[in-house]
């Protein structure tokens, strides 16, 4: 057998494994989510690193990209660059202030909207399992963090999990059931620890807390005290 014969055998007979429809769809969804998250970064960033730092970073990002000469002369861009910088600083400061003030309230609205949407049009969960051994690995590769999953909360049964876009970022959501009530628990990395807090939106109750590593937002139509009990059990279970 010579090299050409071997090559012919391989090209004609070796199995080829194209990506499945499911994988194509998953990657397209993932790209769309990541892309949306990136485009919103300028306005979402301030709460993470502080207004001044993020304005600097934002300007660096945008001016850095704009500074690549696109056919125009060097002098040209210094002029436009200066004007642009002034404009962008104004816009960035406005965005920073706005998002600082509006964030917690808007976040609660978005979480209720996400919960309602999942209840109405679904899916409430993309991976269906009452075991954290099934749910936790499912998030692998779908998120850039690993959310904790608890399946042993007395009175609250784990239904499964899903990834939902929250403020443009793919976010882990765990679905639980207690009696006739559904609870959605949104989990994403936290900037710092925070004591539990209870909110109400459009008849839904929200309990949120943070353990320093992750922040948790539980939303449900169940009675507020019951939802707090869910939060307390989660914290006890996670500890």
């Amino acid at each position: 057998m010579n090299d050409d014969e071997l090559s012919r055998l391989l090209r004609e007979h070796a199995s080829r494994h194209p990506a499945s429809e499911r994988l194509h769809a998953a990657v397209r969804t993932q790209t769309a989510l990541q892309s949306a998250a990136r485009e919103r970064k300028p306005s979402a960033a301030p709460s993470r690193v502080g207004a001044i730092g993020s304005v600097k970073a934002w300007l660096r990002r945008h001016l850095g990209a704009g500074a690549v000469p696109v056919g125009s002369g060097r002098l040209g861009w210094i002029g436009t660059g200066g004007v642009l910088a002034g404009l962008m600083l104004g816009v960035a400061l406005t965005l920073a202030v706005q998002s600082w003030q509006a964030r917690p309230a808007e976040l609660a609205d978005d979480i209720v909207a996400g919960h309602v949407r999942a209840l109405q049009v679904g899916p409430l969960f993309e991976v269906s399992s009452s075991s954290h051994h099934q749910v936790r690995p499912w998030f692998q590769g779908r998120l850039d963090y690993a959310p904790p999953v608890l399946d042993n909360l007395p009175g609250f049964a784990l239904l499964g999990g899903r990834v939902q876009s929250l403020r443009g970022k793919p976010t882990a959501v765990l679905a639980y059931q207690a009696g006739l009530h559904k609870i959605d628990l949104f989990v994403w990395p936290a900037e710092r620890g925070a004591a539990p807090e209870r909110l109400q939106r459009r008849g839904f109750n929200i309990v949120h807390w943070s353990d320093g590593a992750m922040q948790y937002w539980a939303v449900s139509d169940m009675e507020g005290g019951e939802l707090e009990r869910f939060g307390a059990q989660w914290r006890a279970g996670a500890g």
Partner: protein, 174 residues
């Protein structure tokens, strides 16, 4: 065009090749899907490093390959794969092989023999064959993906071919 759309247009046409490489390297259907998806996520993050006019296929397959090798290293209980010399692969060979369903009777004899011979190669030899013969990439692209000099690619190809001829002749081909 948004960054997501540019990524879709330039990189995602190579998702089939990405999955094929992952499937041949990891030899496990579920692990290959996960690796291809994770590689796409990483690729999007590093999309800025793909230059205008640069061929996206070797760039993306390089990321796929690294993702798979990280996975293989984990299987072998090593944190890093870079320190492995080629002999170390022998302990992995066979160990992680997921048995294919027995369709052999209905399939062509050639296919099962060729697939079995390819699976018997160590990953560094298997990847150069998959990239050269199944993906039709040139030596330079393969060198880029595997992170080795072109000379190494050529010597690996030659050793891989010798091994494949030996195995296929044993199996009674052509």
């Amino acid at each position: 065009m948004s960054e997501g759309q540019r990524f879709e247009a330039r990189v995602l046409p190579h998702l089939d090749a990405a999955h094929n490489l992952a499937r041949w390297l990891l030899r496990d259907a579920a692990a290959a899907e996960d690796a291809a998806q994770e590689a796409a996520l990483r690729a999007f993050r590093y999309f800025a490093s793909l230059r205008e006019g640069e061929d996206a296929k070797p760039w993306f397959l390089g990321i796929v390959r690294n993702t798979c090798y990280t996975q293989l290293a984990r299987q072998m209980g090593r944190a890093e794969i870079t320190g492995l010399d080629e002999g170390d692969w022998d302990e992995l060979a066979g160990a992680a092989d997921t048995p294919e369903p027995v369709q052999v009777l209905h399939e062509q004899r050639e296919r099962s023999a060729v697939d079995a011979a390819l699976r018997a190669l160590t990953p560094p030899l298997r990847e150069v064959i998959v990239l050269r013969e199944l993906e039709d990439l040139d030596y330079r692209s393969i060198a880029l993906i595997a992170g080795v000099p072109v000379g190494t690619v050529m010597s690996r190809l030659s050793r891989a071919r010798a091994k494949l001829k030996e195995l296929l002749t044993l199996a009674g081909l052509p």
